[in-house]
């Protein structure tokens, strides 16, 4: 179906064909960030986790926060894309690929956080060799690896026709593309199989995605610790994950829109829709947060209240109120009216949500550990350059992966856009007609009472 002579979408192939100076600059800057992380990790391997700011009793800090955060971001992609696909939202076409890539990249980064956090990374295989299924960490490992596999497949399947285009049109990396294209010729049958496979994966991936962040929340909620031991942590984490995921997706879209001149594909309407989705999630997030904290406060259990007040007015109040501001107040202001300056507002809200959700993860992980039940001296945690380095490197590595991906594969699905033009328009029209009361189809015609 992909017509080689069709040059309407040439711009989508441009980044793969040509490399500008900006790319090298970006790679250089991001590599610096990654280098910082590499040095930090080398130092940590040599000296032990003592080079971080962790201590007794705050034994989890930035790394675990990052883990939860990145796994959360991963929900941007596959989950959103699957929902949009299944609901046949036509505006999804330029978005899905970008979303799916986020998932795959970020899952690597997220899972890597746990490796960085281990005191004995050399023994990580013990988890497989001697795994204990009672531990939520094992659930995590299972669920995340399942999600990663599913997401990879789900990313790759819709990419096959595009890879075939690259194979046919691009001079370089022919072998690579040939292998990945799996002999795609664009026949009717192939299309049918592909569409069915995508549909199956889309259905499959949703429960896995939901399970991933539920299980991540179980790492905390399965313990007996104050403000962790909560039944709504599962859905709360999932909501937060989708929330931060959408924000990350919006930011990624805006960056590539600008960098690769994709204004034609990513139009304000896309951002408006996503902005509205973000707003809904913001409200949902607030609802969960409010419920969670109100229940804790109303119960007034002593240990719970120690942590609660620590967050509210104590040493963590800056983080806590920062989180409320960034996750709720700012997005609310930005997203309520999106008629004008849509893109600026949506961008502001998204950036704010990304920061806010990171703070939320931090405010969940650290304060509980800072307030031991027994009369210990209370410990406040401050990270060292090593943790900052790892965190910066994680973000940089994510961006770098993403950037490199766009140099190898088209970031917007070419064939789906084309399909939109050719098939989608017609299909939507037909579908739309079925929704409407005055387009009567014979088989559904009610019995003519008069006749």
């Amino acid at each position: 179906m992909a017509d080689p002579a069709d040059t309407r979408d040439a711009i989508l192939l441009a980044p793969i064909e040509r490399t500008g100076r900006g790319f090298y600059w970006a790679v250089a800057i991001l590599s610096l960030g990654v280098l910082w992380g590499a040095v930090a990790y080398a130092v940590q391997l040599d000296g032990g986790l003592g080079v971080t700011g962790l201590h007794q009793p705050v034994s989890w800090g930035f790394y675990v926060t990052n883990f939860v955060f990145f796994i959360g971001i991963s929900h941007a992609g596959t989950l959103i894309s699957a929902i949009l696909r299944l609901s046949r939202a036509e505006w999804r076409r330029p978005i899905t690929r970008m979303a799916e890539v986020i998932t795959v990249m970020v899952l690597f980064i997220g899972a890597g956080q746990i490796l960085v956090d281990l005191g004995r990374p050399d023994r990580v295989m013990n988890v497989i060799r001697h795994g204990r299924y009672q531990s939520p960490l094992l659930w995590d490992a299972t669920s995340i690896s399942a999600y990663l596999t599913a997401s990879l497949v789900y990313l790759w399947l819709p990419m096959i026709p595009d890879i075939a285009i690259l194979r046919d049109r691009l001079g370089k990396r022919k072998f690579f593309y040939t292998v990945l294209a799996l002999g795609w010729q664009g026949t009717e049958r192939q299309h049918k199989v592909l569409n069915r496979a995508i549909a199956v994966m889309a259905v499959l991936v949703i429960p896995i995605a939901v399970s991933v962040h539920t299980v991540v929340s179980f790492v905390f909620s399965m313990t007996l610790q104050p403000m962790w031991h909560s039944t709504i942590f599962g859905p709360y984490f999932v909501v937060g994950a989708i929330f931060s995921g959408i924000a990350a997706l919006i930011v990624a879209m805006l960056i590539f829109r600008k960098a690769y001149g994709l204004q034609g594909y990513l139009r304000p309407i896309h951002f408006r829709y996503l902005g509205q989705l973000l707003l809904v999630m913001a409200l949902l997030w607030f609802y969960f947060t409010f419920t969670e904290y109100l229940t804790g406060y109303y119960g007034g259990e002593v240990e719970e209240m120690k942590v609660f007040w620590g967050k509210f007015w104590g040493p963590f109040s800056l983080f806590f109120w920062g989180m409320v501001l960034a996750n709720f107040v700012i997005p609310l202001f930005c997203l309520v009216r999106l008629e004008r300056r849509t893109i600026g507002k949506v961008l502001t809200a998204s950036l704010s949500v990304i920061v806010g959700m990171w703070l939320e993860r931090f405010i969940i992980v650290v304060p509980t550990l800072s307030y031991p039940r027994l009369p210990f001296p209370e410990g406040i945690y401050w990270p060292t350059w090593v943790e900052w380095g790892e965190t910066a490197a994680s973000f940089a590595l994510f961006a770098l992966f993403y950037l490199l991906f766009t140099k190898v594969f088209p970031i917007i699905s070419i064939w789906e856009i084309q399909e939109g033009r050719e098939v989608g328009l017609k299909e939507v029209e037909e579908r739309l007609l079925t929704y409407l009361p005055d387009t009567v189809e014979p088989e559904f015609t009610p019995v003519d009472r008069g006749g």
Binding site: G47, G48, L49, G50, G53, L54, H55, Q56, P57, S59, W60, I114, D117, L118, G119, R120, P121, R123, V124, N126, V127, H130, G131, R132, Q134, S135, P136, L137, L138, A141, V219, M222, T223, L224, Q225, L369, P372, R373, L374, P375, F376, P377, G379
Partner: protein, 227 residues
């Protein structure tokens, strides 16, 4: 099968820390040095916590020695992804250093903060250490083991002499040292043992009982016996 447990009489505990130091010497627990100590990384399997009694304005202090409580339903063991910590058949919550991957989940899960992490390599094998206890490397979690190596040795002795292990033959270093005789150790499954008797005392209570962890370290409150 024995069920090892400990009773700590808070009425007698003077907060002298003999148990703390005895534990350190027995179990090769390092001093971490001023810099690490200021970063709150002191390792103290047995730690004396101090609580100010808010009811007495003159400020009665309560000294609370806290070893690992060896819960019968330990929250820490369930979360360990590699079986590095588990409850053994005699109720001792074991910590297998060779297995630990250093994820610190057990530390986060323990409501008593009884687990400690080796943030750095604090010591190497050297003279003055107890050869019965391994010297822990960086990156793993450690905690009070009820000096279970003493149990191994007592068993070995008993076995060589063709007899069962006798009460009082296995006592952790802290209980052995305590100058106020505040720590009593023994077999909770034997109703006639001293620990069992004390555990039934009206003064007996367990830390954070409401969590359902069923600790086998039982405390006796200060003051005269009530009830």
């Amino acid at each position: 099968m024995a069920l090892w447990g400990m009773v700590i009489d808070l009425d007698r505990c003077t907060g002298c820390q003999a148990c703390v130091m005895a534990c350190k010497a027995e179990n090769n627990v390092p001093a971490v040095g001023p810099k690490e100590a200021s970063r709150e990384r002191i390792i103290s399997w047995m730690q004396v916590l101090t609580e100010e009694d808010k009811e007495h304005p003159d400020g009665k202090l309560r000294f609370l020695p806290r070893p690992c409580l060896h819960c019968d339903d330990p929250p820490c063991t369930k979360v360990c992804p590699v079986y590095a910590t588990y409850r053994d058949p005699e109720g001792i919550v074991a910590q297998i250093y060779a297995r630990c991957i250093g994820c610190r989940f057990c530390m986060a899960a323990c409501p008593y903060n009884a687990k400690y992490f080796n943030w750095h390599t604090y010591q190497k094998e050297g003279p003055g250490q107890n050869p019965d206890v391994s010297v822990r490397q960086k990156g793993i979690v450690e905690k009070c083991t009820f000096c279970h190596h003493r149990l191994q040795k007592a068993r070995e002795r008993a076995l060589a002499e063709h007899r069962e292990i006798e009460p009082g033959e296995y006592v952790p270093a802290c209980a052995e040292a305590c100058p106020a005789r505040a720590i009593v150790f023994g077999d909770l499954s034997d109703p006639s043992s001293e620990v069992s008797k004390l555990a039934r005392s009206p003064r007996a209570f367990r830390l954070q009982e409401e969590l359902g962890t069923k600790p086998k370290v039982i405390y006796l409150t200060e003051g005269e016996a009530r009830g």
